[in-house]
């Protein structure tokens, strides 16, 4: 489905900037950078048409390392800046890179409004469940009871489910991937790129300095097959190292079924295109149910007319109704009189 434009002749190298990458050695951000630099050349978009907008945080240094247009703005406001870019320049491919503090804490409002509005911007949330840049405070994605610099006795509030929040705000494309699953991550990024409209991608990311192993329980090699479920459009929900377990619904309640051989007929078959995102919402909460695997992949993909399309349609309509409107006439509109 991706259309790498052979004339552009872009490679990963074209997307590497001349700035030395300055994340801590071992940081999960490197893998994500790598995935993005691998996917961008494949999208058929000229390099100069990419804009990466970020807020503040470790994740938000991302634009500096991409040889595209990049704007490292202020804490939490990247979705709003990106909206201004996209609505005035629909020709650009606009990406937002954000951390869990940047997007969910200070920037929560812009995030939900960007999702609701459905401008065609792709928000990548690097979720390390901690404030990296400011050296280790809890974030709204940190587990309840987590001890950090700012919560020495443990946090006292439940975290957001970032996906549930995005779905509650009617994000049309919602997905999740993992820093250490490069092929999966690339696949999700490519799908996000092709989707027309607001997209929200949570990426599990390891901060090996302040929150090492936050996702280990799901993503380490020895557990991941058992603990992670990959949602694939049109396919039944199957997981397990031997692909021998599946999810089915009992009424509204998900259940795990074990099987041998072919998956049973009554397994839930994943349908990512949900006008009504209640099923996606159910999946967003699945990983929190004891014993259930953590779903990754595309939770929702539902195209609707984008915000910028609607905005420009009005401008075009007004223009075509008005013929070629004259600015002098505008100034002289209404009751006028002449003094001579």
């Amino acid at each position: 489905m991706i259309q790498p434009n052979p004339e552009l002749n872009l490679t990963k190298k074209d997307f590497q900037s001349d700035q030395e990458v300055r994340w801590c050695p071992g940081c999960g951000d490197y893998a994500i950078l790598n995935a993005v630099q691998n996917v961008f050349p494949e999208l058929g978009i000229p390099r100069e048409n990419f804009v990466i907008v970020s807020g503040i945080g470790c994740a938000s240094r991302f634009p500096y390392y991409m040889n595209t247009y990049g704007f490292h703005t202020i804490h939490g406001r990247a979705p709003a800046v990106a909206t201004g870019i996209k609505v005035t320049r629909p020709d650009l491919s606009v990406w937002v890179v954000s951390g869990d503090g940047d997007a969910l804490s200070i920037g929560g409002n812009h995030l939900i409004h960007a999702m609701r509005r459905n401008a065609d911007i792709k928000v990548l949330l690097f979720n390390n469940r901690i404030y990296g840049l400011t050296k280790g405070q809890a974030s709204p994605a940190s587990e309840l009871g987590k001890r950090t610099k700012s919560s020495p006795m443990g946090t006292t509030d439940e975290p957001f489910s970032p996906l549930a929040l995005a779905l509650g705000a009617n994000a049309r494309f919602v997905a999740r991937s993992v820093d250490v699953f490069p092929p999966h991550l690339k696949g999700v990024l490519a799908q996000a790129a092709q989707h027309k409209g607001s997209a929200f991608i949570e990426i599990f990311q390891n901060c090996n300095i302040f929150n090492d192993g936050a996702w280990r329980g799901w993503t380490e090699r020895d557990v991941r097959d058992e603990r992670v479920l990959n949602l694939e459009h049109g396919k039944p929900l199957v997981f397990g190292a031997k692909a021998n377990r599946g999810i089915r619904l009992n009424g509204f309640k998900p259940e795990i079924v074990e099987f041998e051989g072919e998956p049973p007929r009554d397994l839930l078959v994943w349908d990512e295109d949900n006008p009504e995102p209640a099923m996606s919402f159910l999946m967003a909460g699945l990983g929190d149910r004891p014993g259930f695997p953590m779903p990754i992949g595309v939770f929702r993909k539902h195209e609707e007319t984008t915000f910028e399309t609607r905005v420009h349609a009005q401008v075009d309509e007004a223009r075509s109704k008005a013929g070629s409107p004259n600015i002098q006439t505008l100034l002289e509109q209404g009751d006028v009189w002449t003094v001579s």
Binding site: S17, I56, T73, I74, V315, I327
Partner: protein, 614 residues
């Protein structure tokens, strides 16, 4: 027919009585009659109060004249009061001997009660010092529209047109402009159109037929610069200035804002102008609005945002980003009474220090201010010109008084407006994101989509020239000073400060913003008393005009009248280390001429001996 030089008329009624509409129709016909004029709409507090009560009173005052008009007038010559509450709220401003027109039909006991009158003022002689014209307006209007068969409520709604018809007769005005307007407004509703028409006509005919007025007045044309005129309110004027600037710079206009009184009308105006390629964006809040506007500017569009005090406070952080990113951006603050939510529908000039200094660290931004409603056009145009020429955010201050008030405007020829030239950088050869134009110190505007110019900017300190992130101490000092120097360079676009009245003398009245009219009137009156007084009005508050200090030095004293606690006065002292006198008022209302005049008389040693000591 008696000829008058100037007249002040005030319409007052319940919010539901259509007084704003009546006032603005009268204004239009006054303008068409060639008078100079100034208006002051006075809305009730934000939420509709119960009909007939004092908080529900809505007023509209117009001052028109055959000579220069600077303010909506201190006292009214004519007051139209549609109900007891309107009478009570406004009678204090009617001059002794003034004409008072009241609608007797609305002086029933329950109406009086609502207004808190024990006895009807029409009966207790309390109005004896005025010429009272009592008319049963409601009944007469009902009669006039009877045949059309409207329900009573709709019929009664026409009574403001009846009153307007009377005023047209009184001041010898044709009905055409209002008839045309009715046609446009009610074209689709033949019954309402006809009813309003008849009411208007009936008011006029009633005066023609009866002897309700003893006199009829004529205010001759004001001899003014030749050209095409229209009447314009400040917010409309601001909107048009932006559109004109976008047109001249060949940039699309992106206007992002969040509604707030008294700035919302700029959004409403621009939302109507999509045919000029204007995109308006109602953001989720003021922070998102300025952020989106910054995004638009970054991407090569003219980004503008507009708000009032509390919203301005919220934009503070992002203003810093625009400063260090060195992107063009226009931020308009239609000031209102504060602090906090304060007096949201009232006027004030107290955001000056915030505009100049209200940001973390050293983030200098050019600041402009419009002096009158029509001046908003010129200054919003100027704001765009400076923003683009110097790649900088610019703050434009207007306020509730000029935003809502209207005045005649000599419509400029678009092609004669100052040029605004935009050149996007396209050449990748030797491109550095923070290399500067030696003249303007502007960095190049290099927008996404341009091949070969891919680069990164942001809010961290940048290395000189390359724009890369830099933590180098001396580079930081250099960049802070360079940004300051760039804003100082804006002075090249700032015209020298002119002085009206005396060019040198005993007192310079130095104003800024919406106090223009009151100062102008006061200075004229002072000079007619033989005082040597000049009036300089600052439209550029940062940087100041080059010659400002020397202008000030030509006068013995400087008086700065402001609708705040003395903010400009403080800035001038801090800057020029010379004492200035301050006249302040913080009542949510503009100065009257007399208030300014009195202070002038205290300060200026007059040839006629009336002034104070030197």
């Amino acid at each position: 027919m008696q000829t008058l030089d100037h007249v002040v008329v005030r319409f007052a009624g319940d919010s539901g009585d259509g007084m704003q509409l009546t006032g603005s129709q009268f204004t239009t016909s006054t303008a068409l009659a060639g008078n100079d004029l100034a208006t002051l709409p006075d809305f009730p507090a934000e939420i509709r109060a119960p009909a007939g009560t004092l908080p529900g009173v809505s007023g509209y005052q117009i001052h028109f004249s055959s000579s220069d008009v600077f303010t909506p007038g201190d006292n009214a010559d004519v007051l139209v009061a549609m109900n007891p509450a309107a009478l009570k709220a406004n009678i204090g401003d009617l001059r002794a001997g003034g004409l008072l027109i009241v609608n007797t039909d609305s002086f029933k006991q329950k109406d009086l009660d609502k207004a808190g009158y024990q006895v009807s003022p029409l009966e207790d002689h309390s109005l004896d010092r005025f010429q009272v014209i009592s008319i049963d307006l409601t009944r007469l209007t009902r009669q006039a529209v009877e045949e059309i068969g409207l329900d009573t409520r709709s019929a009664d709604r026409c009574k403001n047109l009846f009153a307007l018809g009377m005023m047209y007769w009184l001041f010898d005005r044709p009905l055409d402009s209002t008839l045309n307007w009715l046609q446009k407004k009610f074209g689709a509703r033949a019954d309402l159109l006809e009813a309003n028409r008849r009411a208007l006509q009936a008011g006029w005919s009633y005066c023609e037929a009866t002897e309700v007025f003893h006199e009829r007045y004529h205010v001759p044309r004001f001899p003014t610069t030749s050209g095409l005129y229209r009447n314009i309110a400040g917010n409309t004027s601001t909107a048009l200035g932006l559109v004109a600037a976008a047109h001249r710079s060949k940039l699309p206009l992106f206007y992002a804002s969040y509604p707030i009184t008294p700035a919302s009308d700029v959004l409403h105006e621009l939302a109507q102008l999509k045919r000029f390629g204007v995109i308006t964006f109602q953001a989720e809040d003021e922070i998102a609005a300025i952020s989106a506007a910054i995004g638009a500017s970054y991407a090569g569009t003219l980004g503008v945002t507009c708000t009032s005090g509390p919203g301005m406070a919220l934009k503070t952080e992002a203003l810093g980003l625009a400063t260090i990113a060195e992107l063009p951006l226009v931020v308009i603050d239609v000031q209102r009474g504060g602090p906090s939510t304060g007096l949201p529908t009232k006027t004030e000039q107290a955001d000056l220090l915030q505009a100049l200094y209200g940001r973390n660290s050293e983030a200098p931004i050019p600041v402009l201010a419009a002096a009158t409603a029509s001046d908003c056009f010129r200054m919003s145009y100027e704001a765009v010109r400076i923003a683009i020429t110097h790649m900088t955010p610019v703050i434009l201050l207007t306020d509730g008084y000029i935003a809502n008030g209207a005045e005649p405007w000599l419509v400029p020829k678009v092609e004669e407006l100052p040029e605004i030239s935009v050149s996007f950088r396209t050449d990748p050869e030797n491109f550095f994101a923070y290399e500067r134009d030696p003249q303007t110190l502007a960095r190049p505007w290099a927008i996404p989509g341009t091949k070969g110019l891919e680069h990164r900017i942001g809010g961290l300190e940048k290395a000189d020239r390359t724009g890369h992130v830099s933590y180098d101490p001396l580079n930081h000092e250099h960049m802070v000073r360079t940004r300051a120097a760039k804003v100082e360079r804006v002075v090249d676009l700032v015209p020298d400060q002119t002085v009206e009245g005396d060019e040198a003398g005993s007192l310079l009245v130095l104003g800024w913003g919406s106090t223009y009219g009151a100062i102008q009137g006061a200075v004229r009156r002072a000079r007619s008393q033989g005082l040597r007084v000049g009036h300089a009005h600052l439209r550029y508050l940062n940087p100041f005009p080059k010659n400002l200090e020397s202008v000030m030095s030509r006068f013995e004293k400087v008086l700065v009248p402001e609708l705040n606690m003395g903010q400009l006065a403080f800035v001038l002292q801090g800057r020029f280390v010379r004492p200035v006198e301050s006249l302040t008022k913080i009542q949510g209302k503009p100065f009257t001429e007399v208030e300014v005049l009195n202070r002038i008389l205290e300060l200026a040693p007059g040839s006629n001996g009336k002034g104070g000591a030197a």
